[in-house]
Structures are given as C-alpha cells and as structure tokens.
C-alpha cells in the first residue's frame, strides 16, 4: 500500500518536472539592420544613421547607430517590429534628411538581417512650427491654431498651400481605416483640406517669418467665449479657416481681419474646422492639381470618405497622437515623420512646438527638422504664436 502511495506521489512529481522542462522561454536574438544607400545619387552620405526598432506590441524602442551602414542589436526579443532609419547631413548650404523604414517586420531568428532602403530629401523650407490642437477651458473648441515657418534661406510663397488633418484611425472600432484604394501606403487621407488663396505671389514668407493659421482669428479670452483661454487673442493670425461668417449654436463665428482660407475638400458640410483635441496629425502640402470633394475614398466607419494626398506632395507632417499607446498607429509614413508627439490630454491648454536647432548670426532661428517629431518637438505648457520672435510677414497689416 505504501508503495502505491509512493508511486502516486512520484508520478505527480515526475509530471511536475516534465511540465517544468517543457517550458520554452523566449530567447533574445541578435539582429543587424543594413542601410541600403543605393537610391542616394549625387548627395552626400551622412556619417551614420540612427536606427530604431519599435516593438509594435509593447511600444518599447531600441536604438543604435550604424557603423559601415550596419546597425547591430545584440539582444532583441522576438516579435513584430517597426524599423526606422534616420540621418541628417549638410552640404553646400543645403540640409538633407535621410530616411527609410520597414513596417511590421517579424524578428524571430538569431543573426537575422533586415535591409532598409533610404531615400533623401532636402529639408523643407516650410515647417509646422507650433500646433495647438488641445484647446482649453470648458470643452471650448475654437481656439486651435497651426503656425507655418520659413525655415530656409529663401523666400517662399504661401499661395495654394494646403493644410489638413490626416484621417487614419477609427476611434470607435479602435483600428486604422482601411481605405479602398490601390497602394494606400502611397497616400495619406484627409476629410477636410484648407487652402491658402492667392495668385502665386500674394503671400510671400521671408526666412524667419511665420504665418499663423487660426481656426478662428478672434480674441478667445472674451467673456462670451473662453475667459480662461490658454491662447487668448488670435486676431493677429494671418489666416483663418473660415469661408465667411456663420453661426454655430448660439455663437456667431465672426469673419475677422485674417484672410479667409478656401475649403476645397470637405467630407461633409460643417460650420467650423475642428481638428482632434486629443491629437491631430497634420500635414502641409502644395497640391499637384486642383482639389475637390468628388469621388472621395471610402473607408469603413469614416463618414463622407477622405481625399487621397500623395505622400510626395507633403512638405511637412507631424504625428500628433493622443498618447504613447498610439505610437503603433501613426498616421504618417516614416519618411514624413518617423516619430510621434502628444500632449497627453484634450483641453489641457498645452501645445507642441518645434525645438530650436541653431540661431544664425542675424538672430534668425533654424528649427529642428529631422522628420522625427519625437526628436523635433516638445510639449509646451502654454501655446504661443510666433514663439522665439518669429517675424510677422509684411503683408499682415492687421497685426499690432
């Protein structure tokens, strides 16, 4: 009888041992990322590239610098990763941004190599310098603004410049939109596009000048609006996203001194332009052809569809996401913005502003533009138009 008991206990013990031995714990692997520079012609090569591996499940990021075009990661947990390659270089007074990416790369094998082709683009003359999308007060939604800055050494004309918030994520289904178009990766999509009018030379922007595009260029700190407004008076803005006076509820949206923009693309009629207060991914671009709202591209869960914007049109874009959990659902391709930035909360009165790269001898500020908003932007406790002394264009006669 005792033998039986002992045998039973022994059998259970062996079963326990067997189960313990069966555990196959994950084994980190070494991975190499090889930067493919074959597409770089007649441009200087950067000294090195910064390569980032972002675990798409955990949002953990590993970075390494390349040596001889190869970045080595010695201990990578197998999984699904986004790979981005970035570098900057200057030559002959020009700044170049190098970027490459690979999406949803499954890393599973020891010694795995990942080849990432890079392309190069000159730094954009126009950059989004500050974006205030979060708003403040008691769900007050009309004080958003977007500031465009001439970061170059040459005059740029704002005529026809478009600005749009990118539609990419269905917050109800909690999944990216699935746009019904061939090669959707070649586009970004926007339900609303606002455009600066002009005949081509109406609105020059000199180096160091900025233009403020307000949702509504009025004094938002008025008692009838938002007395505690984080931004206050936007009446000096150069442009406002209005096509004329309108009424929203009991509020009369007055047409102010700021130049009214055009609204060539709208998924559906609405009295104001409200971008996401939780996080608005924005792009500026010059359209390659006239835009309209016909034959909008459909996506399940997106009312009215969206206009496709070829990636090559885009001058600058910023992945402003609601919070760090959204880093795996960025709305822009990595060559436009390989990073992401967030204020964390809606109605918090905070803005995102581009960091200073250098200050020239004449006092002109050059802002960081590495196509990575994680590096290029910082969260500001209070929004401010024309921060750091950005100049007002000469044609803005209504700004004090």
């Amino acid at each position: 009888m005792k033998k039986t008991i002992l045998l039973s206990v022994a059998a259970l013990g062996m079963a326990a041992l067997a189960v313990s031995c069966q555990k196959e714990e994950v084994v980190p692997v070494a991975v190499s990322v090889i930067v493919d520079e074959s597409a770089l012609v007649d441009v200087p090569s950067p000294e090195s590239y910064t390569v980032s591996l972002t675990n798409l499940s955990t949002a953990e990021v590993m970075t390494a610098e390349t040596e001889n075009s190869t970045a080595s990661f010695m201990s990578v947990v197998p999984g699904l990763y986004g790979v981005s390659v970035l570098a900057t270089a200057s030559d002959g007074g020009k700044s170049y941004n190098y970027s490459g990416s690979a999406s949803s790369v499954e890393i599973s094998a020891e010694g795995q190599t990942i080849k990432v082709p890079v392309t190069v683009a000159e730094s954009s003359a126009l950059v989004l310098k500050e974006i205030y999308y979060a708003c403040s007060g008691d769900y007050y939604i009309r004080e958003q603004f977007y500031e465009v800055y001439n970061n170059s050494d040459a005059t740029v004309y704002l005529d026809d410049l478009c600005i749009a918030e990118v539609d990419y994520y269905n917050q109800v289904d909690k999944a990216p939109y699935n746009f019904q178009i061939e090669n959707p990766q070649n586009y970004v999509f926007a339900g609303d596009v606002w455009q600066i009018p002009g005949d081509g030379t109406s609105y020059p922007l000199q180096p160091g000048e900025s233009a403020v595009i307000a949702q509504w260029a009025t004094d938002h700190s008025m008692e009838s609006l938002n007395p505690g407004s984080a931004i206050g008076d936007l009446s000096s803005a150069e442009f406002e996203a209005l096509t004329g006076e309108s009424t929203a509820g009991t509020t009369v949206i007055t047409d102010n001194a700021a130049i009214d923009m055009e609204h060539p693309v709208m998924a559906y009629s609405q009295p104001q332009w409200l971008t996401s207060t939780g996080g608005a991914t924005m792009v500026i671009f010059y359209p390659g052809h006239e835009l309209n709202s016909e034959n909008m591209i459909a996506a399940e869960g997106l009312y009215g569809g969206a206009r496709e914007i070829p990636v090559e049109w885009i001058l600058d874009g910023v992945n402003a996401v609601p919070d760090e959990t959204m880093i795996q659902y960025k709305g822009l391709p990595d060559n436009i913005d390989a990073g992401a930035v967030w204020t964390g909360e809606a109605y918090c009165g905070k803005s995102i502003a581009r960091k200073i790269s250098e200050t020239r001898d004449d006092g002109r500020i050059i802002y960081m533009d590495t196509n990575n908003s994680s590096n290029d932007f910082e969260v500001m406790d209070k929004p401010e138009i024309r921060r750091n002394g950005a100049k007002i264009p000469s044609w803005n006669t209504w700004a004090e």
Partner: protein, 507 residues
C-alpha cells in the same frame, strides 16, 4: 436549496463551539477535497448560521489591499443525512468596503501569478460583493460497504466596483465541478480519487466619470514591464476578459487505527487563462498556463485522538505568454492576427502551512478544557521576466504558538478565550528590473519595491479571541465572538490592526 440544506439539519447533542471544532477536526474526509469520503466520516448532522463584521486598518499590507477594509458577511453551512446520503452545503455572502488600495484598475482580486491586468496610479476604494455557494454529496456506502461516489459543485460570483477614476466594474464567477470516488480495501485503508473541472470568467469594464482628466494606466505584463495606456474615451483601455479552464485530479489515502487517523490528499492541476481586450475587436493581452501540485495531510493521533496535526502545501508554476499581434485587414475586415506568443515570464509560488494542536481534557462528547498548539507557514515566490532578465523573489515564514480555553459558564454556557503570538521572518527578497523603458516609473520605483517590502518585512503577529456561547433550547447554542489582531513590523514601522465581531447560531 443550499440554505434549506444548511438549515434542515439538527444536531443530536447540544452544539457548542468546542464540540463543533473537534467534530470538524475529526472529519478528515470533510476536510479533504474528496466528497465521496463524506460517507466515511462520522459527522452526524450539524448546522451553523453566522453573521460577521470585520475591520482591518494599517499600512502593513500588500499594495493591492486597502489601507482600511471592512467586511460584513453572512454564512450558513450544514451537514445532513438524506436517504442514506451525506449532504453538505454552504452559502456565504460578503460585502467588503476597501479604501486606500492601489495599482489595480481591472480585476476583482489581483494575483502574483496573473501578470496581465491594468494598474493605475490613483489611491482608490473598492466595493466588493461575493456570493459563494457549494454543495457536496456522497452516496451511501455500497459494494459491501467498501465504495462510495461523491460530487461537489461550487459556484462563486463576485462583483467589484472601483470608486475613483479610472473606475472599473468587474464581474467574475468560478464554477467548480468535482466527481469523486472512494474505495476501501478492508482494514488497510481507503483510497480516493477526485477529478475536477473549474471554469472561471471575469469581465472588467472600465469607465471615467470626470471627462476633464484622462487617467494614465499601465497595461501590465509582469515584473514592472508594462505598456502605457489611458482610461476613458474612445482611446482608453477597453473591457478586459479573463477566461480560465482548470483541470485537476487528486488521490487520497486514509488510514484509521486506534492510535491514529490519517489522511493524505495529493493532487495536481493544470489551468489556462486567456486574457483579451475589447469584445468587438478582440486583442489578446496575454495567456497564463499553470501547473500546480497540492498536498494535504492530516492526522488525529493518540488513543483519544487529542493530538492533531495538519500539513498543507500548494506549489504552482505559472508561465506568462505575451502576444505579438498584427492588424490584419484582409477582405476589408480588420482583426488581430497572432504572429507569435512567446513565453516571457514565469511565476513559481510555494505556500505551505502546518499546525499541531493538543487538546487537554478531551472527552467523548468532543469538549475539551484547554488546547495548546503551534502553527507555521511559509511563502516562497520566484518571478522571472525572461528578456531582459528581471527578477522578483521573496520568501517568508512564520511561527506561532496559540492557546485556547473552553470554560463552562453555568449549565449550558461556555466561554472560550484564546491567544496567539508569533513572529514572521523573511530570509530573502529581491526585485531587479532590467527593462530599458519605464525605469523611472512609479510601477518600477514604488509598486514593486513596496510589495517586496511587505513580503519581506519581519513582523510580530499577535491575536486574541473571546467567544461566549449560550445554550438555546435543548441542542443549540448562540455564540458571540470578538477577535482582534495586531501585527507590527519594526523594520517598516508599519502595523496592521484587525478586529472582528460575530454572532453564530449552532444547531
């Protein structure tokens, strides 16, 4: 029905606390996991109906426990004989009000071996209710009084509500079904076999009342590794589901002789818990697989069976699997596709306790004059996050001595004072986090170190109790009990105070 069963039974002799205590202690099969063995116990019929109120306060606690907890409950249980069958039923309801709990925004009861839950950063209250009902039955002995079948069914439903943002309403139930069998080889002893299946389900629904603030949360993966998230709105974390299936079995052996009654119960089980988020767009958050071994041994020794020994041990080895999932959009339908689900963390936990009690003046009726005993317990946990290698290990052991008296008061009254004092020591404990992200986070810098401090704090443990039993009618007693406890850690300079008041009707 269970309540009826509980209340239907009536004791044949006066039920007083001491006899009830020793009767249950003598019923080795009742204390085992095998219901068929109830047919072999000399239980008679008995019933308890009790109301209780308890209170705890103090900082010597797990981070998940409340700084202050109050509990009100009612419990009924009883054993009855119906048509030769032995039936046992119990029912309890508890309402618990917790304040000052931390780092849990999703589950009714966090556990060391369930790493996939949501933690938040607010100090919060919880209100919880638990309904627990169980039934055990054994057929009459058959086949020359050598065999019996048994069955156990238990259903426990729990609801919890977190009281500050991010709020969570969680509903959980555990359903257990366990058929069993015993067979006696004559005088040599009795063998038992029990099989069990348990299904558990928990649904945690988050919400935010104050839309002005977006609470930050940590979607935990074990040992301080987490994915940052938020609560509320369209982007906050969604409903979490926990679905558990557990299969187990155990063998029993009981031996009875003049100087000793002995029962050994050895079991094992395997369980799998799937953790997913968002019912409309399901995404796996993790999976745990557990293998466990249990040992229960109890013996009543001496010619009068007035020396009682108990040993219980539970070892569980849990593996935590994470899911790497990719959004698939085939045919216009988005859904998560699992690329792989590696084993990322392990949790080995051993809990054991043992006790010895000596009853002085133990007579045939089951009463005694005095009891003196020793009890000891140990807890050992080893947690590991595989890559990057991180560890959370802790162990402690406690030893207590206790004494109790059973003093007749008048004809049918009893006064039962009891005292207990002991000390808990921790030989070791370590928390090391090797992650590259979140090194400065509250989870890594406060939550895990605080829990380690609690688990490894040497402490003095004391308690007292006083029960006053009054004879009611012929065979029943009405008992009023008051209990208190005070634990103190000199190292942490923290304490935990407990107090309880109860009324019980034994019949």
């Amino acid at each position: 029905m269970l309540l009826c069963l509980c209340l239907a039974a009536g004791a044949q002799e006066r039920a007083v606390p001491a006899t009830r205590e020793t009767a249950v202690g003598s019923s080795l099969w009742l204390r085992s996991s095998n219901s068929a063995g109830l047919a072999l116990d000399s239980l008679g019929v008995m019933s308890d109906l009790s109301l209780g109120f308890s209170f705890e306060q103090g900082g010597l606690k797990s981070v998940w426990a409340g700084e202050r907890e109050t509990d009100a409950g009612v419990e009924a249980k009883g054993v009855a004989k119906v048509a030769g069958m032995t039936l046992y039923g119990d029912f309890s309801y508890d309402y618990t009000d917790i304040s000052g709990a931390r780092y849990n925004a999703s589950v009714y009861e966090p556990a060391y071996d369930q790493p996939y839950y949501v933690a938040d950063y607010s100090v919060s209250g919880w209100k919880k209710q638990a309904y627990d009902m169980g039934f055990r039955g054994a057929t009459p002995l058959f086949w020359r009084d050598r065999a019996a079948f048994g069955f156990e069914a238990r259903y426990k439903a729990m609801v919890g509500a977190k009281q500050t943002d991010p709020r969570t309403e969680t509903f959980r139930y555990d359903l257990l079904l366990a058929p069993s069998f015993t067979f006696s080889f004559g005088g040599a002893g009795t063998f038992g076999l029990k099989l069990e299946y348990m299904h558990g389900f928990e649904r945690s629904t988050p919400s935010v009342e104050n839309d002005w603030v977006t609470p930050r949360v940590a979607i935990m993966r074990g040992l301080g590794f987490y994915t940052a998230g938020t609560a509320g709105g369209n982007l906050g974390f969604d409903i979490f589901y926990y679905k558990t299936n557990r299969y187990g079995g155990s063998l029993q052996y009981a031996f009875s002789s003049s100087p000793a009654d002995l029962l050994v119960d050895v079991g094992s089980y395997v369980s799998t818990t799937l953790v997913s988020e968002n019912p409309e767009f399901p995404r796996m958050r993790g999976r745990t697989e557990k293998f466990g071994l249990t040992l229960d041994a109890m013996a009543n020794l001496g010619r009068r069976k007035n020396h009682r020994v108990m040993l219980r041990a539970d070892w569980g080895s849990t593996s935590g699997y994470e899911y790497n999932q990719q959004l698939g959009t085939s045919q216009g339908v988005s859904h998560w596709i699992t690329i792989n689900n590696p084993l990322m963390s392990t949790y080995d936990i051993l809990e054991a306790d043992m006790s010895y009690v000596w009853y002085s003046g133990f007579d045939g009726s089951g009463e005694y004059d005095f009891r003196l005993g020793l009890s000891a317990d140990m807890f050992m946990m080893m947690q590991k996050y595989v890559a990057p290698l991180s560890r959370f290990d802790a162990s402690n052991a406690g030893l207590r001595v206790f004494a109790g008296w059973n003093i007749p008061v008048g004809v049918s009254g009893r006064l039962l004072p009891e005292l207990c004092a002991g000390y808990r020591l921790s030989p070791s404990g370590v928390y090391s986090y090797a992650g590259t992200m979140n090194r400065d986070s509250e989870i890594v810098l406060d939550m895990y170190p605080s829990e380690l401090n609690f688990l490894t704090a040497d402490r003095l443990e004391t308690s007292f109790g006083l029960t006053w039993a009054l004879g009611v009618r012929d065979k029943s007693s009405l008992c009023f009990s008051l209990r208190g406890g005070y634990d103190h850690s000199f190292g942490l300079r923290e304490h935990r105070l407990t107090a309880a008041f109860g009324v019980a009707y034994l019949f």
